[in-house]
């Protein structure tokens, strides 16, 4: 068991309020910062007055959707990571571990590869959602109701590896190097050039996923004492596994489908925040979601501030920021142990 700083625990309501305020601030900063100079108050005034000035269009079609998607996707990743770590009682779990993000990535790649992506704008994200659902169903067929946690992890890793191999195969067989190049770049994850249609596609799926994940809080608390104890406290673990796999598939599937694969947020956000909620998995859910939103919004601001062209990919930035954070955290845990 890891040593922990119990005295690091802070009040839950103030913590949620502080993180929500930080997330809001990060979202506002994300709206303010961009490649083009934008007078935000003027753009807002235009937008509310119904004047489609250039500034209003940039705000409505580019800045706001990008910030909203960043918050949405970051929240989904942080929340799913916390929920899966609680379910599997393994601090290494993240949305990748159940194969959903790999499935979503492959679904989007298939659409791109088949040429459907050129037919209508939402084809790729829809393909991603379909891929996530197929991965979750495949996982379910393999695991079935009532199978144990270890089976779930093994099945998830299998599905994820298989989806990864199929994605690599698509790259391998790519008819021209430019297509392979585009797929690779898309896989690195980005919020650039996403607009309202992507947001409206992801939002409903994401919200349903959040609902499934957030309502699992009491069961995840009970699972702290093991599966027998959780069952004896009245929780149906078969139902809980189904609920969390479905929730993560919807939330993360929709996120990956729209933005590409963004790593490390789902792994790091729960770790950073766990001591602040006294290690309680139920309370970690909302907190980790907010933390994920902040991380992703900040990373997306960073990629736009770093003068590199083409723009640094968001998935690259989150890994570059997330890995040292995690390393420092592990080092601190090792010294406290």
């Amino acid at each position: 068991m890891r040593a922990c700083a119990a005295d690091a625990e802070v009040g839950y309501a103030p913590l949620v309020a502080a993180l929500a305020a930080l997330a809001l601030a990060a979202a506002l900063a994300s709206v303010m910062i961009g490649y083009a100079r934008l007078d935000v108050p003027a753009a807002l005034a235009d937008a509310f007055a119904g004047r489609s000035s250039a500034a209003a269009v940039v705000l409505e079609q580019i800045r706001l959707p990008r910030a909203a998607l960043g918050a949405l996707v970051g929240f989904s990743l942080g929340l799913s990571g916390a929920a899966l770590q609680g379910l599997l009682r393994n601090p290494l779990a993240d949305p990748g571990v159940i194969g959903v993000s790999g499935g979503a990535a492959f679904g989007a790649v298939v659409v791109f590869y088949s040429g459907l992506a050129g037919v209508f704008a939402l084809a790729m994200p829809l393909g991603g959602v379909a891929g996530a659902i197929v991965a979750a169903l495949l996982l379910y067929a393999l695991v079935g109701r009532g199978a144990g946690t270890m089976t779930l992890i093994l099945a998830g890793v299998t599905v994820n590896s298989f989806a990864g191999a199929l994605t690599a195969l698509a790259l391998n067989l790519s008819p021209n190097p430019y297509a392979a190049y585009e797929i690779m770049f898309w896989l690195m994850g980005s919020l650039a050039d996403r607009s309202l249609p992507q947001l409206w596609l992801a939002l409903p799926l994401t919200v349903v996923g959040w609902g499934l994940l957030l309502t699992s809080a009491p069961a995840l608390d009970a699972l702290t004492l093991g599966e027998d104890t959780a069952s004896s406290l009245g929780f149906d673990l078969g139902r809980l596994r189904a609920q969390l796999v479905a929730g993560a598939a919807l939330a993360v599937g929709a996120a990956v489908a729209v933005t590409g694969a963004i790593g490390f947020v789902g792994l790091v956000a729960p770790h950073l925040l766990r001591p602040l909620v006294g290690n309680r998995p139920g309370r970690l859910l909302l907190v980790s979601g907010l933390g994920g939103a902040i991380m992703l919004l900040v990373a997306d601001i960073v990629v736009r501030l770093i003068p590199v062209h083409p723009e640094l990919k968001l998935g690259v930035a989150t890994a570059l920021i997330g890995a040292p954070l995690l390393y420092g955290l592990i080092d601190r845990m090792r010294r406290e142990a």
Partner: protein
């Protein structure tokens, strides 16, 4: 509350862990579930707690099946303390104990006055009040066992099923924990404890159920643990005595060939 098990059969592969067990457990009694390693004690306890599927037989709770009673009602009425339990995350002791109130709480509502009182009472009963702020991972094995016992007590169930609740405790806390379980039974709850210490079992329990190879070989007051039963099931002889009206047994020598102890 009366729990009745009839013809329980559980197989793990070809080996039967329970080979036709009948028993009845009632409130107000401290029942010791004893028997050698691999006799099926934990399996029986898990079946009664509703955690283990059976290949045959049925368990009735006041005449109703677990399905008729419902998962939530069963969780409120029957508490289960796992063998050598642990916590996957280093929660504070009082947060661990509060998990015992989950069956009584509506999701996402704050704990009621009764919930808080039950947690305080359980912390006090298991003598872990002074450990309440400590992360459970920093406790010793015995302290952790007491914290987890407090968690099970906090359920305030009609029946407490405890798998080796005193195995990790020092002698003082073994005596106190057994006295606590007996007191809980006197107050009206049923308590079933898997025990290996025959001295504690015979001294404190109202009743002993002796399992061997998945069958009940003796069921009755501590005097039911005769020399013949001890020799057959455990392969030991024992010293016997009585002090202040409490009978006790001390395992003494192995029966039959082998190393003399």
């Amino acid at each position: 509350m009366r729990i009745e098990a009839r013809g329980l059969v559980v197989r793990f592969g070809a080996r039967p862990a329970l080979a036709g067990v009948d028993c009845a457990l009632v409130s107000g009694e401290l029942t010791g579930l004893i028997g050698p390693n691999g006799a099926g004690k934990t399996t029986l306890l898990r079946v009664i707690a509703g955690l283990q599927r059976v290949d045959a037989g049925q368990t009735r709770y006041d005449g109703r099946s677990a399905a008729e009673l419902g998962r939530a009602a069963l969780a409120r009425r029957v508490a289960y303390l796992a063998q050598s339990g642990f916590s996957h995350w280093p929660l504070r002791v009082d947060h661990v104990v509060a998990l015992g109130r989950l069956p009584h709480r509506r999701p996402f509502s704050p704990p009621s006055v009764a919930d808080r009182a039950a947690v305080e009472a359980a912390l006090a009963a298991a003598e872990v009040v002074e450990l309440r702020d400590r992360p459970i991972g920093t406790l010793s094995g015995g302290e952790r066992a007491r914290a987890l016992l407090a968690r099970a007590l906090a359920v305030e169930a009609d029946m407490l099923l405890a798998d080796e609740p005193v195995a990790a405790l020092d002698p003082l806390h073994q005596l106190r924990a057994m006295a606590l379980l007996r007191a809980a039974a006197r107050k009206g709850a049923g308590v079933v404890a898997v025990l290996h210490d025959l001295t504690l079992a015979t001294r404190f329990c109202d009743r002993l159920i002796v399992l061997a190879e998945g069958r009940v070989v003796a069921d009755g007051p501590p005097s039911a643990l005769t020399d013949a039963v001890l020799a057959e099931t455990y392969g030991v002889t024992a010293l016997r005595g009585e002090r202040d009206g409490e009978p006790f047994v001390i395992p003494w020598r192995a029966v039959g060939p082998g190393l003399r102890d």
